[in-house]
């Protein structure tokens, strides 16, 4: 096993994009996919996902602003590890505007190309297989799995896709400086919104307390992003902030049930790519059912279950998470 892979494995690096996949495992599966190809067919690609499309997550932008050199270094390590053809830095439009010059000067003549996330690609434009379509100039929406990008990604070649923070961590691990911290985005009804670097095993409660953000009013929180994160009540805070490491604080006085759910549903109706029936049609009907004076809860729940059970991609399944958990953990009397 190569040096870098064993280091990553030893550090137990976990992907920071949200799904929490083991980094070493992903790298290894791309390497394995390459092994099975003939000598003249070993082309592969690396993609750094800097789309950061989930509202309430801002850490990748922050990392790129302060530690861009580390991120580029991490990408280069991956290129070397796989002897990749080239890498794409799939960059959020706003970050590109702000950091383009800096990034270009860091990349210099490395085999890294900045690909700006198309401004109209929306939420789905951050889904990893939709990114592949975007780079290839196809309609931006998730691809059917299997095959997974690790075996058949960009132009059918094995492709490694990792998040900005993951490449940052790879660079630290390579230099022996990884200290088991991560970047938490805290937002919502709290005094100190922003990105905080703290140990990666802290509970939500501790994170909120250490950043002086623990609310003194009735509240609930959402972990993992403003639209796809899971909702917990004030008694459920002894858990790590998993996923993309975002914590959103909601004051119960300011955010009644109807308003919060309506916002989520509006967001998903606008952002569904339209490929599959449970998401395209289901979310539209969910909103319909929800906006009626008398809500048909049975149908509402069936539509939610169908969304998590039968959607084409993980984003469709994720759309059910906040609503289900809000009802279960905060407004259980509603159902």
């Amino acid at each position: 096993m190569s040096d870098i892979l064993s280091k990553i494995k030893k550090a137990n690096l976990v992907g920071r994009g949200g799904a929490g996949f083991f980094v070493a495992e992903k790298w290894l599966s791309v390497a394995k996919a390459l092994e099975s190809k003939s000598a003249d067919n070993k082309k592969c690609f690396v993609v750094c996902n800097a789309a950061e499309g989930e509202p309430g997550v801002m850490k990748d932008g922050c990392i790129l602003e302060h530690y861009a050199a580390r991120v580029i270094d991490g990408i280069k390590i991956a290129i070397d590890f796989l002897s990749a053809e080239r890498a794409f830095l799939y960059l959020n439009y706003a970050y590109h505007k702000k950091l383009n010059k800096k990034l270009a000067s860091l990349i210099k003549d490395a085999k890294i190309e900045i690909f700006v996330k198309p401004i109209n690609s929306g939420y789905i434009g951050g889904e990893e297989s939709a990114i592949l379509n975007a780079i290839e100039g196809k309609r931006i929406e998730p691809r059917l799995r299997p095959p997974f990008p690790t075996t058949s990604g960009l132009w059918g070649r094995p492709t490694l896709i990792n998040n900005v923070e993951t490449f940052y961590n790879v660079s630290l691990v390579a230099a022996g400086q990884f200290k088991n911290t991560r970047f938490y985005t805290i937002s919502g009804d709290c005094p100190f919104e922003g990105v905080f670097e703290l140990p990666d095993n802290l509970t939500v409660e501790k994170i909120l307390k250490q950043t002086d953000n623990f609310p003194k009013f009735p509240f609930f929180i959402q972990v993992g992003g403003n639209v796809s994160g899971e909702v917990f009540n004030a008694k459920q805070l002894k858990r790590p902030a998993s996923g993309a490491g975002a914590i959103t604080v909601y004051s119960q006085a300011k955010n009644d049930f109807k308003k919060v759910v309506k916002n989520w549903l509006n967001f998903y109706v606008n952002e569904s790519c339209g490929q599959c029936a449970p998401c395209r049609e289901g979310i539209y009907r969910l909103r319909d059912v929800f906006m009626k004076e008398k809500i048909d809860w049975r149908l509402f729940n069936d539509l939610l279950d169908n969304l998590s059970d039968a959607s084409f991609c993980a984003l469709g399944a994720a759309a059910a998470v906040p609503i289900k958990s809000l009802i279960k953990n905060v407004y259980h009397e509603k159902n």
Partner: protein, 589 residues
């Protein structure tokens, strides 16, 4: 899904087609795999050893039924006049799974209906977003006319001209136009892409048929003619096995519907073969360089029976219009002769004849409306109905197709050769023309012999050469061969589906004669054929056509005596002859 099907377990689905890539977007084929968190779609899940799969658990039922209800709400119900009604998968599943089809209100009732000439339409009000039409138009046919615009609930199938570019990255599409092949309709599971229906006009004409006998002044004579490939496919609409030959039933059904006369377009196909073979020989013969005293004929010669191919040339490659044979298509030949030759024989004013052509094709509707095909100011064909439309009329009128006593088509325009039968197959036009061209070259004739007294002599001589040119057969995308006809080497190519044309365009000068059929398989896989049509089904239909050919007593077009008689009647009729037999093409933009 395939494995389940092969083992007798039917899993419902709407967006699965064996010839197209798996899209897994309808989510109707969900199944439960034990120990997996979410449901899986049967169409996209490869089988593996040890999978325990439940296809009808409560969880599966709930999800599948809900997805069906959601999809129903995308589709307005115009069932009473929808020719898809008797085959509708949506209605079938609704009944099978006891689904409330109006659980949700119609979402798309204000969507546009896009009409392409008089041939094909895409009704956004009925579309269930399966995207089959995109796959066939862009990836199979490579026409790139249909586009997906918008996203989420706003996504919509639109013609290229309406495409707003989102959410594609700023790529400008090349100008594209519909060739009316109807493959979108053939692959649509919901009747959203459909032929523009004309059955109601035909039904009205049949209903309003003058009570007077046709030969009394003012009486209308209703004449139907049916294309070579209808007879081996229409049975499927009534549950017959694939490739069942049903010529007799088709005639009987048309008579039962009220047509006075029923003719076989195979007769017209023999005329086409003769005209086309004569032109091929002329072009090849004059292919002597000018310095050797000859005039170079425009080669390669291209077939022109396929109206979608004609539209393709006129729009995309007008530079090749001189290469197209000037012969009209079989349906135009036979209809033209019905309204002139037969009309005179029967002493009926051609204005009192109404011809309805039953075709496997949507583009034929467009062809029938082409002004340059008018004869003495009249359209040879009044209406074109697809195979599906005819089947619908038969069902709608409660006719028991299988119980009909088979009938023969009417004479004299009923006789035909085996060469005509295979017109429905890719390579069939080529093969038929080669049979007659070989005769012409071997006998050193420019035209086939029409005189009565030489008739027998001709039949003797017709023994020249082979009958079967197997190089032209089969379902390969492009079939190439060099065939020797009476010492003359002819380089031929057969293009099976317009999507396969590019490599042939790339080396056009390598050929003398090229057949192109826009639909994969030829007319047998045409846009107006029964649904489903798949590669496997096409194979069965093809076998049936070659069976008809092999069993025919006459296998060469120029041995069809009735065809020769009709051509003889036309001889010396200058302008009329030209109007009945030949056509010209116009650049389209």
């Amino acid at each position: 899904m395939q494995v389940a099907h092969d083992n007798g377990i039917e899993i419902p689905n709407l967006c699965y087609h064996p010839d197209l890539p798996v899209k897994a977007n309808c989510r109707v084929c969900v199944v439960e795999i034990v120990d997996r968190k979410n449901l899986a779609t049967a169409c996209s899940t490869p089988v593996a050893a040890g999978l325990e799969i439940k296809t009808d658990s409560e969880r599966v039922k709930r999800s599948r039924n809900l997805n069906l209800e959601l999809i129903f709400a995308e589709h307005i119900k115009r069932c009473p006049t929808c020719i898809w009604r008797f085959n509708c998968q949506l209605l079938e599943y609704a009944e099978k799974y006891k689904i409330e089809i109006t659980h949700f209100s119609d979402r798309k009732s204000k969507r546009k209906v896009y009409k392409f000439a008089n041939a094909v339409e895409i009704d956004g009000r009925q579309c269930i977003d399966c995207r089959h039409c995109l796959d066939v138009c862009n990836d199979v046919q490579k026409i790139n006319y249909l586009k997906l615009t918008g996203k989420g609930i706003d996504q919509e199938i639109v013609p290229a001209s309406e495409h707003r570019g989102l959410p594609f990255i700023g790529k400008k599409a090349k100008p594209a136009d519909c060739i009316y092949c109807g493959q979108c309709a053939l692959h649509c599971p919901a009747g959203a892409a459909q032929e523009q229906s004309h059955w109601h006009l035909v039904e009205k004409a049949l209903r309003d048929k003058s009570p007077l006998p046709p030969f009394v002044k003012g009486g209308k004579v209703l004449v139907a003619q049916f294309a070579p490939s209808i007879r081996v496919s229409i049975g499927e609409e009534f549950g017959a096995p694939y490739g069942k030959i049903m010529s007799g039933q088709v005639v009987a059904a048309l008579k039962k519907l009220g047509f006075n006369y029923v003719f076989d377009v195979n007769f017209g196909a023999d005329i086409t073969t003769i005209v086309e073979a004569e032109e091929l020989v002329a072009r090849v013969k004059s292919g002597i360089p000018p310095d050797k005293g000859g005039q170079r004929g425009v080669l390669p010669m291209l077939t022109s029976c396929c109206p979608a191919w004609i539209k393709y040339i006129e729009f995309y490659r007008p530079d090749l219009m001189p290469n197209l044979t000037t012969a009209r298509s079989p349906q135009s030949h036979s209809a033209g002769l019905i309204k002139t030759y037969w009309a005179e024989k029967m002493k009926i004013n051609q204005k009192n004849i109404l011809t309805v052509s039953i075709v496997p094709c949507t583009a034929k509707k467009f062809e029938a409306g082409r002004a340059e095909l008018k004869i003495r100011g009249n359209w040879p064909i009044d209406y074109c109905l697809t195979t599906r439309e005819l089947a619908w009329l038969i069902k709608k009128h409660g006719i028991d197709f299988f119980k009909l006593k088979p009938a023969a088509s009417d004479n004299p325009l009923g006789e035909s050769s085996g060469a005509a039968a295979i017109y429905g197959a890719t390579g069939g036009v080529m093969e038929s023309a080669l049979r007659t061209a070989e005769y012409l070259l071997a006998t050193a004739r420019d035209t086939v012999c029409l005189e009565e007294n030489k008739k027998n002599k001709m039949s003797l001589k017709a023994g020249h050469g082979r009958v079967e040119f197997k190089q032209a057969r089969g379902l390969a995308g492009v079939k190439e061969a060099v065939v020797e006809l009476a010492g003359k080497k002819l380089r031929i190519a057969v293009v099976n589906g317009i999507g396969q044309i590019q490599p042939v365009f790339d080396k056009l000068n390598n050929y003398d004669y090229i057949e192109v059929m826009a639909c994969p398989g030829g007319c047998i896989g045409g846009g107006g054929q029964p649904i489903p049509t798949t590669k496997e089904i096409i194979k069965k239909r093809l076998e049936a056509l070659y069976k008809i050919d092999a069993g025919a007593s006459v296998r060469r077009a120029h041995e069809n005596k009735e065809a020769l008689r009709a051509l003889r009647w036309l001889k010396g009729k200058g302008k009329l002859r030209a109007q009945v037999l030949y056509t010209k093409y116009r650049k389209k933009s």
